[in-house]
């Protein structure tokens, strides 16, 4: 099967660089799959969980923050502010972050602060969701 070049760059380093077979990223209106030789495209990404198939049949989950994906000439570049593997996620911290965000949502705040908190809550829930998935296959 064909592969494509994938580079995932997050604000704290290059997260992944290499070949990839299939990629699923969270977009604003649902998930989007990218196969080799995809049409050139720039996609706005939403906070969510992405999947990459690096070797046949083996899917890896990644929690993505805000960012965008760019497909050009069979090369995919994801530029996101955060990208985390499930094993790197601190469940307790994520839970605290979620509680903190929920607490703030209950208080009166400006529209801007509201969006801010909402994004923070989305990130926390995203992390929790990803870490919850692997909870039972210890």
């Amino acid at each position: 099967m064909d592969t494509f070049g994938l580079r995932i760059i997050s604000s704290d380093g290059v997260f992944y660089e290499g070949r990839c077979r299939k990629l699923i990223i969270p977009a604003a209106d649902g998930e989007m799959g990218i196969l080799p030789n995809h049409e050139n495209m720039v996609i706005a990404m939403a906070i969510g969980i992405g999947k990459l198939e690096l070797t046949e049949g083996e899917w890896k989950d990644v929690a993505f923050g805000q960012g965008f994906a760019e497909v050009i000439n069979n090369r995919v570049t994801l530029i996101v502010d955060t990208a985390e593997k499930p094993e790197d996620i601190d469940i307790r911290r994520a839970r605290e972050q979620k509680e903190h965000a929920e607490e703030r949502l209950r208080q009166k705040q400006s529209i801007q602060e509201y969006y801010h908190t909402q994004a923070s809550l989305a990130r926390a829930m995203n992390r929790l969701k990803l870490s919850q998935n692997r909870r039972w296959n210890l």
Binding site: I9, S11, D12, G13, A28, D29, V42, F68, D81, H116
Partner: protein, 297 residues
């Protein structure tokens, strides 16, 4: 010739100062390695973000979007120009803060209504003393830059820009070229300018195709640009943090070196004075003894 005790106390005071500068040197150099690691991790993001945005803009059809709006109708002296100025929290960093302040004053000299958003205590006090309009709610330190802080700053800027409270947004910071070359720089954050992204020179025969934007050009720009601003602010903060510690390290190193030199010179003087005193004492003793001897005869 100076008094021995005077020289001695001078040496001691230089030594005390040297202890401080040496300690600061060590602190800065350890923070510096930290900052450098962070910088290395962030650099790919920072540069590829710039590169990708410039690539997208190059391929983008002409479009009207609030982030590209230069608001040319507003005359030059009524434009509201914001600058984010990244200075250190304290001095003792050589020319680091001065270069930033000098650059910012060049911007202030241009026509327009200026508004400053100062990151770092030193700059805040400097501009407050000169009665320049500073946003007082904008209280961020430069220590340990985090993405969270950058997001806060970036959001404030994009919101104010979209509201029309600001027409142009710049960021003034120090870029670390390498460990010796630090350069104060101005970067325009908003509005986006196609020409400000350095265009790659493309060979004529290269096939360049159009890029589809999904879901739509507008929504892609809506989500990318605030992200871009946040990312740039973060990158700038990290660069500035590393530069600050680098220049403080160098300043403290040269201070320690010159203290060492001073101590060396002073101890030569001290020894000379001490020897002179001893010689004088011996002469006096000898003269006294001779006088006594002559008397006994």
């Amino acid at each position: 010739m100076a008094n021995i005790r005077e020289i001695q106390s001078r040496i001691n005071s230089v030594k005390d100062t040297m202890k401080i500068t040496n300690a600061m040197y060590m602190i800065s150099s350890s923070k510096m390695t930290q900052a450098k690691r962070k910088l290395e991790a962030t650099e790919p993001y920072f540069y590829s973000l710039q590169g990708e945005i410039s690539r997208i803009l190059r391929h983008l059809p002409e479009m009207h979007h609030p982030y590209f709006d230069k608001r040319e109708k507003i005359p030059a002296d009524e434009r509201k120009i914001a600058s984010i100025v990244v200075t250190g929290d304290k001095g003792l960093a050589g020319a680091y803060n001065h270069n930033i302040i000098k650059l910012e004053e060049e911007i202030l000299a241009r026509p327009g209504i200026h508004k400053l958003f100062v990151v770092g205590e030193l700059g805040r006090q400097y501009f407050a003393k000169r009665h320049i309009d500073i946003d007082t709610h904008f209280q961020y330190t430069v220590q340990k830059p985090t993405l969270h802080r950058a997001r806060d700053i970036g959001d404030v800027m994009t919101r104010k820009y979209l509201n029309g409270e600001l027409d142009e947004v710049y960021i003034v910071f120090t870029r670390m070229e390498n460990s010796v070359d630090l350069e104060a720089e101005v970067l325009k954050l908003l509005p986006l300018e196609r020409s400000s992204f350095n265009e790659m020179i493309m060979p004529l025969n290269m096939y360049r195709e159009a890029i589809d934007l999904y879901p739509s050009a507008e929504s892609v720009m809506d989500s990318i640009v605030p992200n871009y601003v946040d990312g740039m602010v973060y990158g700038c903060l990290v660069e500035a943090y590393a530069s600050e510690h680098n220049s403080r390290m160098m300043a403290m190193k040269s201070a320690t070196d010159s203290a060492n030199k001073l101590i060396k010179e002073l101890s030569v003087l001290y020894n000379r004075a001490r020897q002179a005193a001893i010689t004088q004492e011996i002469t006096e003793v000898c003269a006294g003894a001779r006088a006594q001897k002559r008397k006994r005869k």
